[in-house]
């Protein structure tokens, strides 16, 4: 019996104009946008590759260790085609130095960022599904029960020995099968386009992630279908059901995300917590500065001159750059000379002695400041943006977006994985300096007796986290979507069982 019901519903749905129209428009939108997105990805990949090469060349040309600020790049994520998330918007280039533990907040954008077209071009495949398929799900659902009730066919069906639950189930299954057609077809087309380009290489993990995105999309569609079905079950007329469905769609997809983000828009003014953390960090560095000056005053070289009167072809600077918004404060200093006049030969051991003390002390201070900064950043900036994302989840759109971002690895956690790797790499670079005994060596600031050796510096590499990590991050939201499905289905069942025909 269930089979007959499903067959009937399926035919009913497939033969409609709305099915053909939605299929066409989804395919068109997905194909057009995928082509654009692939081009965009290729451009970002190219600029990433040139950037990596430039940075590699730059560091090899540095004559002294002190001048060697290693720069690393974040590769673009190929799955950003599905959900671009934060991949394109957050910094993708960061400098690594002994005096600062790098974070997301210091990262710069190379190439792709242009403040004059910021919001315009953030479209992706998930966004298309978010808008078009949810609309389609509602269009399939609004007359499913109300329409049959109006036409009287529902009464006819119920004269047969069919359970009401079966009718609901048949409607649900057949509609979901119909909705899957545009979803899967457009995904297949997108995948075809992806595999024909040579620049994008996908591994087994990536297919797992895409599978996760498909699963989440199905759950999302199902939520909207069930919302439509619920409206259809509680209303008596199709006209009313349609209007309600459209307004619910507008409220959930269009209005709510904008409304909630507008309400909790945050200013750029730092909170009290951030201010106190910044002062704490500053104190740590002030203490460092006092000790440094004390060292200079008490060492064998008279005076407090940090350059030890050494001068020549090159430069020296020291300052404390700060950014109160991102709690950045550090001691930035560089002394590097290509050639040294012989008259400075007496001062060189003093300088060596100073740097041997200074650099490890800077590293220690940077670590101490990082402990404070890490917690404060987490408590202010990260928490704020996470709160916004949580509030967005009151609409299924927000859940869907968060879950697919997590699958694609373009969410905040995915981007932060890169910065964890960068911090790890910084440790490697510092170890490299220690191994070379760079701080105590003359090559730290002068290249007259041979340039610094960068050949054996380990290269930076970043691998995206495995698919199981993505799954772990996506599952809470997916679970929410599924729970919502279950809840809606139960509600519909209760309403439909009790309704008079």
């Amino acid at each position: 019996m269930l089979k007959t019901l499903i067959g009937r519903e399926l035919l009913d749905n497939l033969m409609t104009f709305r099915f053909a129209a939605v299929l066409l428009i989804t395919l068109l939108l997905v194909v057009a946008n995928t082509v654009v997105l692939i081009k965009d990805y290729e451009q970002r990949l190219e600029s990433y590759n040139t950037s990596v090469q430039t940075h590699h060349k730059e560091i090899q040309e540095k004559e002294t260790y002190s001048a060697g600020e290693v720069e690393v790049d974040r590769p673009p994520n190929p799955l950003s085609i599905f959900n671009v998330g934060l991949d394109k918007r957050l910094g993708n280039e960061i400098w690594i130095a002994h005096n600062n533990v790098p974070t997301l907040w210091e990262a710069r954008m190379n190439a792709s960022d242009n403040p004059y077209l910021n919001i315009l071009s953030s479209i992706d495949i998930v966004f298309i599904f978010e808008v078009v398929l949810s609309l389609m799900a509602l269009l399939f659902a609004y007359d499913a029960l109300a329409g049959e009730r109006e036409q009287g066919t529902l009464r006819l069906v119920l004269t047969h020995p069919v359970r009401r639950g079966h009718i609901l189930l048949a409607k649900y299954i057949s509609a979901m099968l119909c909705l899957l057609v545009p979803l899967l077809l457009s995904l297949i087309l997108a995948m075809l386009l992806l595999t024909t380009t040579t620049t994008i290489s996908m591994g087994a993990d990536d297919f797992g992630r895409i599978g996760g995105i498909v699963l989440t999309s199905i759950a999302y569609l199902s939520v909207f279908y069930l919302i439509g079905l619920f409206i259809s079950a509680v209303t008596q007329r199709t006209g009313t059901a349609l209007m309600l469905a459209m307004f619910v769609w507008g409220a959930l997809v269009l209005v709510y995300p904008n409304l909630i983000l507008a309400i909790i828009r945050s200013s750029d003014i730092p909170e009290a917590k951030a201010v106190s953390a910044f002062n704490e960090i500053k104190q740590v560095w002030d203490e460092f500065d006092r000790e440094r000056k004390h060292f200079l005053a008490t060492d064998a070289f008279p005076g407090e001159d940090p350059t030890f009167n050494i001068n020549g072809m090159g430069f020296f600077y020291e300052h404390f750059p700060e950014n109160r918004l991102t709690l950045l404060y550090l001691y930035n200093s560089m002394m590097t000379f290509g050639e040294l006049d012989e008259k400075f030969e007496e001062e060189v051991p003093h300088a060596q002695n100073y740097f041997q003390y200074l650099i490890p002390s800077t590293i220690n201070t940077a670590e101490r400041a990082w402990l404070i900064r890490k917690q404060a950043l987490e408590d202010t900036l990260v928490r704020k943006s996470n709160m916004k994302r949580t509030l967005l989840k009151f609409s299924p759109v927000g859940m869907y977006d968060a879950a697919t971002q997590a699958w694609a690895g373009t969410d905040l956690k995915g981007v932060r994985d890169f910065f964890d790797a960068v911090r790890h790499y910084r440790q490697t670079v510092i170890d490299y300096f220690y191994n070379k005994n760079a701080f105590a060596s003359r090559k730290w600031f002068a290249a007259d007796e041979g340039a610094a050796d960068w050949r054996t510096l380990p290269a930076f590499s970043f691998k995206r986290s495995g698919v199981e990590i993505n799954a772990k991050r996506a599952l809470p939201d997916l679970f929410l979507l599924l729970t919502m499905n279950l809840f809606l289905f139960m509600m519909i069942f209760l309403v439909f069982i009790k309704s008079e025909v």
């Binding site: 910094g91 997301l104 910021n118 315009l120 459209m246 209005v255 309400i263 900036l381």
Partner: protein, 466 residues
């Protein structure tokens, strides 16, 4: 005709969609006003503080002409528009200031001359926010109102056709176009009632608050914006009538209309913009930076090669020429990059004009004084001020007969103290005439769209077989 319009109006006023639309529009407009009243005073306060701070630093630094010539005017801030509740215009992502400062490297014992720095990227701090458009008039009109307009008109002809009432109406001696105009007016009035009420409530809240004062010009602009919304609603009503007449079935006409709406309102602006932005890509920042460094290094090397080894420093004039040309070249380079970025933004914007929603967004931005066009005005103001500032330094130097008139070198410039009042202050201002010029083309396009759709609806309805 009025009879038909009245009948339509009564029909609509009693319907569920009218109630829902009223509630939705009222809620959105009131939230918009409340948020604006919460944010705007803070924003203006921040701007005034920043601008006053900048002027103070400038005054405190201006002990002599040399420090004015080398340190530059400092940060120049963009004034917030009082009409930002009408169009947010991505202001959150645009830079709020430009710096005229001196971060250059010294050469020998010379401090370089100041130059303009334009922010080249949006800080992560802002980009980490989830991206949705903001809740402004442009969004309420562009997205929500157009959606409502379609829901009001999708069945206005096909529905009557299905029920058979259209045949009944046409049995009376009324010309068809009168029926169409009546339907148009009915839908128009019933959509504009909730919208106008919502707008009035919004403006009432804003104008009664002490925190914000709107002047006569702002009210004039609001009037223009209201007119644009009316025009835009007409567009969608005409579209609804056209499809409703052409398709004959309400269910089908709704699907067609929704798909057109989704494509033109939601997707077209974004997709076209990302295609358009690809036609003019600025060079990578990395490359730009390296080129700029090379340029500066080359100038420095050339100077060193010539004068570096000689025991006596070169004459004041030679050194003055070096610092001047270095600063000019550096700034020209910065400006060239800025131009490339702006060009990309322009291209992206130009191509989106196919979508009426994008046109309305642009119109809103230009009349509300926010967004891209406004930012270009700001940059123009800044550049004009930079010229003024430089001329001031040169002119003041000329009035001193003891000076050697070499700008940028300590001993070559006038040593007389400069009074802080005499230094030109930067004032960011909006220019309405320019808005009209940029908007005229967009308005024309919007009218063109309307004419095409109205005549389409007319043809479809006249040829309709009943």
């Amino acid at each position: 005709m009025w009879h038909i319009a009245k009948r339509e109006l009564y029909d609509n006023l009693n319907s569920l969609r009218f109630a829902l639309a009223t509630v939705l529009l009222l809620a959105l407009m009131l939230t918009n006003a409340v948020l604006y009243l919460r944010e705007h005073p803070k924003r203006t306060q921040a701007y005034h503080n920043a601008a006053a701070g900048a002027i103070e630093t400038l005054a405190s630094r201006s002990t002599n002409l040399y420090s004015l010539a080398t340190q530059g005017p400092g940060d120049l801030h963009k004034a917030p528009s009082p009409l930002r509740f009408c169009a947010e215009g991505d202001e959150a992502f645009l830079p709020t200031h430009v710096s005229g400062a001196n971060y250059g490297r010294r050469i020998a014992d010379m401090t370089p001359i100041w130059r303009m720095f334009y922010p080249q990227e949006t800080p992560n701090l802002r980009n980490i926010r989830p991206d949705f458009t903001t809740l402004d008039w442009a969004f309420i009109a562009g997205y929500v109102l157009s959606f409502i307009a379609l829901l009001f008109t999708f069945d206005s002809i096909s529905g009557e056709l299905e029920r058979g009432t259209l045949r009944l109406t046409l049995a009376n001696p009324i010309p068809r176009h009168i029926v169409l105009v009546g339907k148009f007016l009915g839908a128009f009035i019933s959509i504009n009632i909730p919208f106008t009420v919502a707008v009035l409530m919004n403006l009432l809240l804003i104008s009664t608050s002490d925190a914000v004062q709107l002047n006569a010009e702002a009210w004039g602009r609001l009037g223009i914006l209201y007119g644009i919304v009316i025009l835009y609603t007409c567009l969608f009503i005409a579209l609804g009538l056209l499809i409703s007449a052409a398709v004959r079935e309400s269910g089908v006409s709704l699907v067609v209309l929704l798909l057109i709406w989704v494509s033109f309102v939601v997707f077209m602006p974004n997709t076209l913009a990302s295609i358009g932005s690809r036609t003019s890509v600025p060079i990578a920042y990395e490359k730009f930076w390296i080129q700029r460094m090379q340029l500066a290094d080359a100038a420095r090397e050339a100077y060193r090669d010539k004068y570096g080894d000689s025991q006596t420093p070169p004459s004041v004039h030679v050194r003055g020429e070096y610092v001047t040309s270095e600063a000019e070249e550096y700034e020209r380079f910065n400006e060239a990059y800025l131009k490339q970025q702006i060009e990309q933004g322009k291209r992206a914007r130009a191509i989106t004009r196919i979508s009426p929603t994008a046109i309305v967004q642009r119109l809103f931005e230009s009349f509300a004084g926010t967004g891209f066009e406004r930012h270009l005005q700001f940059i123009e103001n800044v550049q004009r001020y930079a010229r003024e500032y430089r001329e001031f330094v040169i002119d003041t130097d000329r009035t001193d007969p003891e000076s050697l008139h070499v700008v940028g070198i300590q001993e070559g410039m006038s040593q007389k103290p400069v009074s802080p009042e005499a230094i030109p202050k930067f004032k960011d201002a909006l220019n309405l005439n320019r808005d009209f010029n940029t908007a005229a083309m967009d308005l024309l396009l919007l009218v063109l769209f309307l004419v095409v759709l109205v005549s389409g609806a007319y043809l479809a309805f006249v040829r309709l077989e009943i």
